[in-house]
Symmetry: C2
Subunit: 399 residues, 2 copies
């Protein structure tokens, strides 16, 4: 597995900090939102004297409680269709190992979450991409583009909804189109829905688990990481109505014995988190998104579609190469002793050269920091040697 | 991955319980010892408002604290040589993925921990076994037996010390012999030392990490699960002085983002567990082992070597087939409304037919329960239809 473009930047960020520069981290998906009290109190009141293994598929009472949680999203399940995993990461790993053979191909719209490829490589599965367009806000590419790519080796389609890294929220119609396609070609439909709670502007998330007639195809990957700002808990889930897949996944689950026990107890308690917690989080992220996207689009040469979900946006910048630019920001630039760390888009595309001038921005800081960070980015774009577009008069005057 | 012989028994155990039979579980490695207060208090006082990702290799302060812990066992390390994993299971999985290619072979003395094979299969690695003898208490087979098995495909040797499933504690001399062998043939030496604390009769554990001149070969797999009776915490470690291996393992670690955060905080605190905790545990297990092994050897036709480590013993029984016998115990037998669940040895051998009349017994219950359980086993052996050895007169009179 090659090192990702973000990880390559880490030493530069460390050096910048050593020189005394403040680095705004817009590069990672680690939110600054407080973990809810429901979860924290469950940890602080862990009720057992021994931290024992649980059932390899997870604690039954937690799985039953998750049935209630999903019911709120009109996803109707039996608890046996829910396997608790060690984070969403393990759900991805297990689905790759359980559903595919060496050389099988999965179609994924790009830009996409880079670790799909990491776990794919480990399982001998090939990720093939269909490029989504920044101009449409990274909407689903036409279904005909998917059909063109389907060969005998194609065994699955995978999406992240709402999307990491673009923030795009797939519509019910797009999910239904994909549902018809996986049914027609008998493919697995892997849906990573870990950002379900993060939808804005009154939009509603439509889960692929609600599609009819594709029970054998759809496999949902989920996690408590983003929902409850508990990335370090390492509790996720793999959910499907396909009993054959459940049986195979269980064997991998048994080999690693048990998901984390304390985390499962906390995950179960978190299902009673009051709606007010999520309303506050939604209001906060909406404010952040509006601030970041509005400020970005006011910068000369920058284009950033306004996403409806997750806590990322994707922007094209007036630059020659985002990898170089992101490194330059950390190595050679500072404005009032501050700089910004961004995620270059190259890590999210597998088509070579795609997204060369694009970056992902995670709006996971408070609005004051976000304002300073985008101001900093604006200044940087004015003086970056690899700038491609002409600066406008205002920008030059401010430089 | 095939279902293990123990897992196949689970439905029979559930049925027995439904019929009202009390089942003594001597089949699993889940100890009944209390998790130490150091660890429990760290969980109850988790100090952060957000459960964040940690570094993929683990929290630095925890890794540094582990250096102190290993120093007590004369294992001298730098913290960068310690990668925190999600349980010992993930350490096994990562070493299989990182150090070996499809078709590579690892030599393991059998009986062996069945999940080595599970993770081996998943990584395309072949486990080849050399049979240890119950008559020697499962001592290391002669080194010449290992040498005979080494081919171009052989890339590693793996042991568990103290051993699961046999309880055998390898001597310093045996470890040194293996050290010389891996050096001679340039093999990886994988040592699973999760039972390090469980040594009896004043015996001391000798870690393969103390061998000289094999820094590039030795990879230690560790876990807090048994040490602190915290199997559900899912915190382990992969430790080596081979920087190339560390670099590759880090890539797999980065793909799954982070080991559990709460568990790491608890693991760090547990290093300050007072010696008195381990002294009590050792005294308790010594008492249990003596009780179980002495009682077993008094049963006509039973042979059970007295192990020096872990909390398992391995016995040969006067029976035709341990798989059948263990199922029969749950399905067709009860004494005073009680029966016993044992682990048939077939799951610990890869040589077909080996250990057909052997079982693993985990002495993880209190002495009263253990006494009742072994009494129950004695009665069962008197009436089991597939008994092979003649019963002696006393046994017949008691039946």
């Amino acid at each position: 597995m090659p090192a990702s473009p973000i990880r390559k930047l880490v030493p530069y960020a460390e050096n910048a900090k050593k020189k005394g520069t403040k680095v705004y981290h817009l590069n990672i998906g680690q939110p600054d939102i407080k973990t809810p009290d429901t979860m924290m109190n469950a940890i602080k009141n862990f009720p057992y004297p021994i931290i024992e293994y649980t059932h390899s598929a997870g604690i039954e009472s937690y799985r039953r409680k998750l049935v209630e949680y999903y019911h709120k999203y009109e996803i109707e399940l039996d608890y046996t269709q829910i396997m608790i995993t060690t984070g969403g990461s393990e759900a991805i790993e297990m689905v790759m190992m359980s559903c595919f053979n060496e050389g099988d191909e999965i179609l994924v719209p790009e830009p996409f979450y880079a670790n799909y490829n990491g776990f794919g490589v480990a399982a001998g599965v090939v990720i093939k991409t269909i490029t989504a367009d920044i101009k449409t806000g990274f909407a689903l590419p036409p279904i005909s583009e998917f059909e063109k790519m389907i060969t005998k080796k194609t065994k699955g389609i995978m999406i992240c909804n709402p999307n990491n890294p673009t923030g795009y929220l797939y519509s019910r119609e797009e999910i239904e189109q994909l549902g018809a396609l996986v049914k027609k070609h008998d493919l697995f439909f892997l849906v990573d829905e870990v950002y379900r709670e993060f939808c804005y502007d009154g939009e509603k998330h439509f889960s692929a688990m609600r599609l009819e007639g594709v029970d054998a195809n759809v496999i949902m990957l989920d996690s408590v990481s983003k929902r409850y700002s508990a990335c370090g808990l390492r509790i996720g889930a793999l959910i499907t109505r396909n009993t054959q897949v459940l049986d195979t996944v269980l064997k991998f689950a048994q080999a690693r014995l048990s998901p984390p026990t304390v985390g499962q107890v906390a995950g179960e308690a978190a299902i009673d988190t009051p709606d007010s917690y999520f309303e506050e989080v939604e209001a906060e992220y909406t404010k952040r998104r509006n601030l970041v996207v509005d400020k970005l689009n006011k910068i000369d040469g920058v284009f950033c579609p306004k996403p409806k979900g997750a806590f990322y946006c994707f922007a094209s910048l007036p630059i020659d190469d985002a990898d170089k630019f992101c490194q330059w920001l950390l190595e050679d630039f500072a404005h009032n002793g501050e700089t910004v760390m961004l995620a270059p888009a190259s890590g999210f595309y597998s088509t070579k050269g795609q997204g060369r001038n694009e970056v992902r921005i995670a709006y996971v800081l408070n609005t004051t920091d976000l304002k300073n960070a985008i101001d900093c980015l604006e200044k940087a774009l004015q003086v970056y040697p690899g700038r491609t577009a002409k600066k406008n008069a205002t920008a030059l005057n401010n430089a």
